[in-house]
């Protein structure tokens, strides 16, 4: 993929997500051109603080998704607790209450598979730290649709299971540090 082609970024993270995202998201510059759609595993019965937290830290707008919200460029979108987040063909954000997938709702696989379907090769998928296997299948779908797969290097991750599973499912994925991931995103949408 060359930088002209990227239209969206999807990110999945679990245990250790806060620290990892705190390296990547605040580094996105004002005027960043791509939407960044993020699933973090959060407990179902609580309000998530992620949005407010990153609103305070980021230079770009940060929102928690509402159903059928249009995807706007240069915005970070977080999946709300207890809903799956999917991307519709018309590039709007859709929520669902379907059963948890791999014990997770929101599920990274569900977001990534629907995003791969909608954006095809114009998608960048990123798997960060986490203690389960969610995201591996989704990242594979992104690769199969011709998109770009990036994974946080397991050695530097708070929990290595998720990046390891992603790499095993997608041997072609590029593995890098958080700082390198941030730099890479800036290259595509800065």
């Amino acid at each position: 993929m060359n930088s002209r082609q990227a239209e969206a970024v999807v990110i999945g993270a679990s245990a250790g997500a806060l620290e990892a995202l705190s390296v990547i998201l605040p580094a996105l510059p004002v005027g960043f051109s791509l939407p960044v759609i993020v699933v973090v595993h959060v407990p179902p019965n609580k309000r998530s603080m992620l949005t407010e937290l990153f609103q305070a830290k980021c230079q770009v707008p940060v929102r928690e998704v509402e159903d059928k919200e249009p995807i706007s460029a240069g915005t970070v979108f977080f999946a709300p607790p207890d809903y799956h987040l999917l991307i519709e063909v018309d590039k709007s954000l859709a929520l669902s209450s379907d059963e948890a997938v791999l014990f997770s709702r929101p599920s990274i696989d569900v977001l990534f598979e629907s995003a791969a379907d909608t954006y095809g090769s114009a998608l960048i998928g990123i798997i960060l730290t986490g203690a389960n296997q969610d995201g591996a299948r989704g990242l594979k779908a992104i690769v199969e649709a011709g998109g770009l797969a990036l994974v946080q290097s397991p050695a530097g991750a708070f929990a290595s299971t998720m990046p390891e599973a992603a790499i095993a499912a997608c041997p072609s994925a590029q593995v890098m540090s958080l700082d390198a991931l941030a730099a890479c995103l800036k290259k595509f949408g800065g």
């Binding site: 509402e66 709300p80 929520l95 629907s114």
Partner: protein, 279 residues
């Protein structure tokens, strides 16, 4: 030569045709549901029912009516909870009920009632607030199996701790255990709770207004629709509500993107409770 126009994927063509077949043959209209999630669930259905393709599934659906409930089981999502989002029910109790008290008789519609969790939550709340006797509840859904379970009022016992905690957090004035008895790993809710309930098969996308309501609660149903079906359903709610009637939606649903937004005003914004504007 490189293709420049997007070509519809074969699978997407098949799904479109399958939904068309479902509509023509059985009059269930899923054509304008939110496709990303329909597609996921149809894939599950295709794989679990052992069909090689959506086309094969379609053939079977067209010729064998016994396939219908099975497919509907995949197309409709039956995830629910009693007093789901306790703050919503607290808001109904503390902010909406005082208005409802001023009516001598009430009609409440639980649209897309699934297995009845939301319905029983509201009936119990109305009983606690002394409004049950004057209220007629309508519980509707398109899924017959769900309607049957709602009418039976039986739930797995392992779900009860969550229901109980939610009920307490919603400001419940009684103990949830007052309303059910437990046996064989299940709990049955008291049949007196169904005294004033009408259960009925009704689709928000193909059926019409049937009564004038003071409160409509329709949570986590509209998320399954695309915007055109959402507008269809919201138009139905608009036409079903009495002047100043209330509409409650799911926590992440919004009227913001609808053509009917102007017919409602925010009543409790954080809880997605709206009030019909006077005509």
């Amino acid at each position: 030569m490189k293709e420049t126009v997007a070509i519809e994927k074969i699978e997407d063509i098949e799904i479109r045709l399958l939904l068309e077949a479902l509509y023509s043959r059985y009059h269930y209209d899923f054509r304008n549901y939110a496709m990303a999630s329909i597609k996921r669930r149809l894939k599950q259905g295709r794989d679990q029912l052992g069909f090689a393709s959506f086309s094969a599934l379609q053939e079977s659906l067209l010729h064998d009516a016994a396939m219908l409930p099975r497919i509907l089981g995949y197309l409709t999502v039956q995830v629910s909870e009693m007093f789901r989002d306790p703050t919503y029910f607290r808001a109904i109790r503390e902010k909406v009920v005082p208005h409802l008290r001023t009516y001598p008789s009430l009609k409440v519609w639980v649209a897309g009632c699934s297995g009845g969790e939301e319905l029983y939550s509201l009936v119990i709340l109305f009983r606690e607030e002394g409004l049950e006797e004057r209220t007629l509840f309508y519980a509707t859904d398109i899924n017959q199996d769900a309607l049957r379970s709602a009418e039976a009022g039986v739930f797995a016992i392992d779900r009860v701790p969550l229901f109980t905690e939610n009920h307490r957090n919603s400001g419940g004035k009684s103990s949830l255990s007052d309303y059910y008895h437990a046996a064989y790993g299940k709990v049955s809710f008291d049949k007196t709770l169904r005294r004033n309930v009408v259960f009925s098969d009704h689709s928000l996308v193909t059926d019409a207004v049937f009564a004038e309501m003071q409160l409509i609660s329709c949570r986590n149903v509209l998320i399954y629709f695309d915007r055109s079906f959402q507008d269809r359903a919201l138009g139905l709610f608009k036409d079903s509500l009495s002047r100043s009637g209330f509409l409650g939606l799911g926590a992440k649903e919004s009227l913001r993107f609808s053509q009917h937004a102007g017919a409602f005003k925010d009543f409790i914004r954080e809880e997605k409770i709206y009030q019909r504007r006077g005509a």
